[in-house]
Amino acid sequence: MTTLRRLVGLAGVPAGRLATALLLGVCALAFAVALMTSAGYLISRAAEQPPILSLTVAIVAVRFFGLARPVARYFERLASHDHALRSLGRIRGRFYARIEPLAPTELESFRRGELLGRMVDDVDALQGLFVRALGPPLVALVVAAGCVAVTAVFSPDAAVALAVGLLVGGVAVPALSSLVVGRAARRQAPARAELTAELVEAIRGADELAVYGRRDEIRSRVGRRSRELARLGRRDALATGLGDALAILVAGLTVAAVLAIVITEREAGLLDPVLVATLALLALASFDAVTPLPGAGRELSRTLVSGRRVLDLIDREPTIVDPAEPVPRPPAHAPIELERVIARYPGQPTSALSRLSLRLEPGERVALLGPAGSGKTTVTKLLLRFLDPVAGRVTVAGRDVREYRQSDVRRTFALAGQDSHVFHATIRANLALARPDATEADLWHALDRARLGDWVASLPGGLDTLVGEEGTELSGGERQRLTVARALLADSPVLLLDEPTAHLDAETAEELVRDVFTATRGKTVLLITHRPEGLELADRVLELPAA
């Protein structure tokens, strides 16, 4: 129940739109029942061969319901889809806002494939919470109560039979169905995530698998996962099919019972003969109200399974937070210092850095050299406050970075590195990220300084060329230089370059480093590298010992 309440909060949209959608749903359903009932009354009454004028009201009613039903249904469908899509936007936004402070350190442990499964399937599943899972029961309740009430006016006994039938068909059957299906959905979700992860890997590593002759193996692994999912799907079918069958059974038996009751009452002279067929048709049509309920129950249990996983992720509290009373942002030209820092990643047994001390004076250019695994990248994470030290402290302008707002700390630095993400967007969008208000000239200037200007100018699409998922349309060197150009565009006081010359030949690497150092005269630069190029340009070279 708490899960449901929290999901409602997460997906919440203006109540007005929801009320409109539900009201239209009630109308559409009620008109369908009324059409059959009024037609039944019309025919029964006509069979008594009264003057034709006395049938006028019934005839008008039949025609009205015949016309109004499709109109109400049309607007109901539009309103409910609109509602679901609005929910989707909100859920995605809120979900993102919650996980944003967790990145990157606390999201590290999520598999890419599984994370994808969560985002796209789970978050999207929540869009139907109101209109597909919670709405139909409400609409059914209103319409079914109306049917029972109308029946009760003429035959309380038949009303009781109808009420019992509707309750069993509308509550017991869907509950049973959703119980069985819920279990299947819980089994299916991990199988689905597993299959996605397997597929992502098979596609990403396709070439290596082909060359190393492992394609058939991964193919059979995907096949196994796929068949496993299919097997679970079949079990699901057994349960959903049973729900439909039970619903048909309950409806048929209820109509039979109502028939028996009204015929008995008519024999006893307690009921107008005209009402025998009318009430039987009302009972028959009223089950239209509960027909969507097993589907809604299934939708609800699926949504809850997905929702629980979404909430699970949302509930993680970020460990890195702004202080209650942040100090004013540091001056642009400030010394940066690591003081006897010990750093460890969450869940890792060993330290990534132990007792590192490092000081960057304003305007100084320092190269940090060290073998792989010596913790060079950890230094950038500490400076950007993606990771807090276990012991020791990181200071900007003499104050611990934990005293500042995170955004003020990060504004001090611009990072270009091996882990920098290149977005599946245009070159322009990838650059503008660093400075949204940058002019066209600013963009070209940054590209030129990263020695990428000529290349971009030679592209048919220019700045509007798409770079592909994770920049796959670019070569390693182009990617690298794009991230450098982005960092230069940011125009922050301190430039952090994490292995900017990987994938570049010695000549280009030296040129790039030289250009960067020239372009950033007066700024602090920390160049993290394992290569010798450009080291002579640094004011100081520090070496990190192996881990």
Partner: protein, 532 residues
């Protein structure tokens, strides 16, 4: 299976007709004053028909799904076989998992529904015509409207569904891309601005979808109107004729109860058609992907060993469909047995394409790649690749242990050989310092591995291979000088036994080669022959 499914569906539908007739009979007789004691067998029959219907409906659902799931599991495999390089992995995975499920719905429901839509209206019409030809005439007049509107529904939804799926997968990639790039966004203080952007993209998606739905729903609303108006029309005319005595009460009731059943299968079909439009759009994209199969080994010739014969490229050109200029243009190159050749050049000069040619991952648009005089495209690619070692520029780390990752090229290799390969690649110190050593789980969700370590693991993979030709694509790009030395030593130790193609930016690495070949914009520009 599908036939059995349709038969079950038809049985269920015919039982509905039987129920309608029974219901009308019971109500009409009671109206006429017949006692319950006489009527009850009909009520019992009505209840019995209900049981039959329920059983048939259950069978209909289960059989339909079973038929569908098996076919669809195979379809997912087809996707893995397709040439997916150009596609984004997230996009394809979404399609193959979520999309195939959408297909399942259409597959399971749509086809049997078509049979029902043909059989049931015909049965209803025949029955009504026997009872009351006038009503049958009215029904016949309204019925043609249904297929007309269905066609309209189909035409607008099929096209729009295709667009919608594309929009959806772009949106899916956008959202994932943003989440993947979160560290970078945060580093630039731009992550909070993305909340707005996500809302904006979602909103654009909503507006676009609502636009298509307004049209799609309009067609189905008109279709529904034909059905409800048909019922109203039948009810009113029958009612008026009852007053004149033109029709009996029981006949009138049968006709009224049957009227909705005439339109119901057609309306269900339209609804399924709408749902299946999603499914068909998915199916088309999946089949399109599966069709783009890699040009797998058509050849059957057994390739000679690259360490014993000349591997040559003769006037080879390659152009990728997505790029305007040729990746390689008229390239000639010879790799002599046992030779170490360095391939240098700017990023994008075509070096990796040349490697892909030798690996059989790309086929030339013009020219020939040959091994000891045999055209590579006529050779058994499996056998050729079995004697290759390859370190790609951006290696993939697979989910599993480090040992499994090194064993990629030789799954049966003993752990001692894995260790030797790791030592050669300079990754053994890193691995052995881990608590679980070679059994450490890496890849998505496992222990994070840096780019440098990944490169070393890929090198170890190559060293473990018993290869005749090694293709090393920037093997030292992420390595520190000490590790580069190690790689140089390994190359030095192995060079006498195999042919090596070294793709590199590193002058030091290129200097160990017997020969340096320079590529510029897809062409060989300079051949430097140096004394070894």
């Amino acid at each position: 299976m599908l036939v059995a499914d349709a038969v079950l569906g038809v049985v269920a539908a015919l039982l509905v007709l039987a129920q309608a007739v029974l219901l009308a009979r019971v109500a009409a007789r009671s109206f006429d004053g017949v006692e319950l004691s006489v009527i009850w067998p009909s009520i019992a029959l009505f209840a019995a028909a209900t049981f039959g219907r329920a059983a048939a409906a259950w069978g209909f659902e289960v059989v339909g799904r079973r038929a569908a799931t098996d076919v669809l599991a195979e379809l997912r495999l087809e996707v893995v076989d397709g040439d997916l390089d150009a596609e984004s992995s997230a996009d394809v995975a979404t399609l193959a998992v979520g999309g195939v499920d959408a297909l399942e719905t259409s597959f399971a429901r749509y086809l049997p529904q078509v049979v029902l839509a043909l059989v049931v209206p015909l049965a209803v019409l025949t029955l009504v015509a026997a009872i009351d030809p006038v009503s049958a005439g009215i029904m016949l007049l309204t019925l043609p409207l249904v297929p007309v509107f269905m066609w309209l529904v189909g035409r607008s939804t099929a096209r729009r569904a295709q667009e919608r799926w594309r929009a959806l997968s772009i949106l899916a990639t956008h959202f994932l891309d943003v989440v993947r790039g979160l560290p970078t966004l945060r580093a630039f203080n731009r992550s909070e601005a993305q909340v707005e952007r996500i809302a904006d993209v979602s909103d654009r998606y909503r507006v676009a979808t609502m636009g298509t739905l307004r049209v799609a729903f309009l067609s189905s609303a008109v279709l529904e109107l034909a059905a409800t108006l048909g019922i109203a029309l039948v009810a009113v005319t029958v009612g008026v004729r009852l007053v004149d005595g033109g029709i009996g009460f029981e006949s009138a009731l049968v006709v009224l109860v049957l009227a909705p059943e005439l339109y119901l299968p057609l309306r269900n079909l339209a609804a399924q058609f709408h749902a299946s439009a999603d499914g068909r759009a998915v199916a088309e994209r999946l089949l399109e992907l599966a069709d783009r199969r890699r040009e797998a080994a058509q050849g059957t010739l057994s390739p000679p060993r690259a360490s014993e014969v000349v591997v040559r490229l003769d006037g080879v050109s390659v152009t990728y469909p997505s790029r305007p200029t040729a990746a390689l243009a008229d390239v000639d190159l010879e790799l002599l047995p046992g030779e170490t050749v360095a391939l240098v050049g700017e990023s994008g000069a075509g070096k990796s394409t040349l490697a892909a040619l030798l690996l059989g991952l790309v086929t030339p648009d013009a020219g020939v790649v040959s091994v000891g005089g045999l055209d590579l495209s006529e050779c058994d690619l499996e056998a050729w690749r079995a004697r290759l070692a390859w370190v790609p520029q951006r290696p993939t780390l697979f989910r599993g242990t480090i040992a499994d990752n090194i064993r990629l090229g030789d799954p049966g290799a003993a752990i001692a050989r894995v260790r030797d390969a790791a030592e050669l690649a300079g990754v053994c110190r890193f691995v052995e310092a881990l608590p679980d050593g070679y059994e450490t789980i890496v890849g998505d969700g496992g222990r994070p591995v840096s780019a440098g370590q990944l490169q070393r693991i890929a090198l170890a993979r190559a060293f473990l291979r018993d290869a005749d030709l090694a293709i090393l694509d920037e093997p030292t790009a992420n390595l520190d000088p000490a590790s580069v030395e190690l790689v140089l030593d390994a190359i030095e130790a192995a060079r006498s036994e195999l042919t090596i193609l070294l793709i590199t930016h590193d002058a030091l690495l290129a200097s160990v080669a017997d020969r340096v070949v320079r590529l510029e914009r897809g062409r060989v520009v300079r051949l430097t022959v140096e004394a070894a």
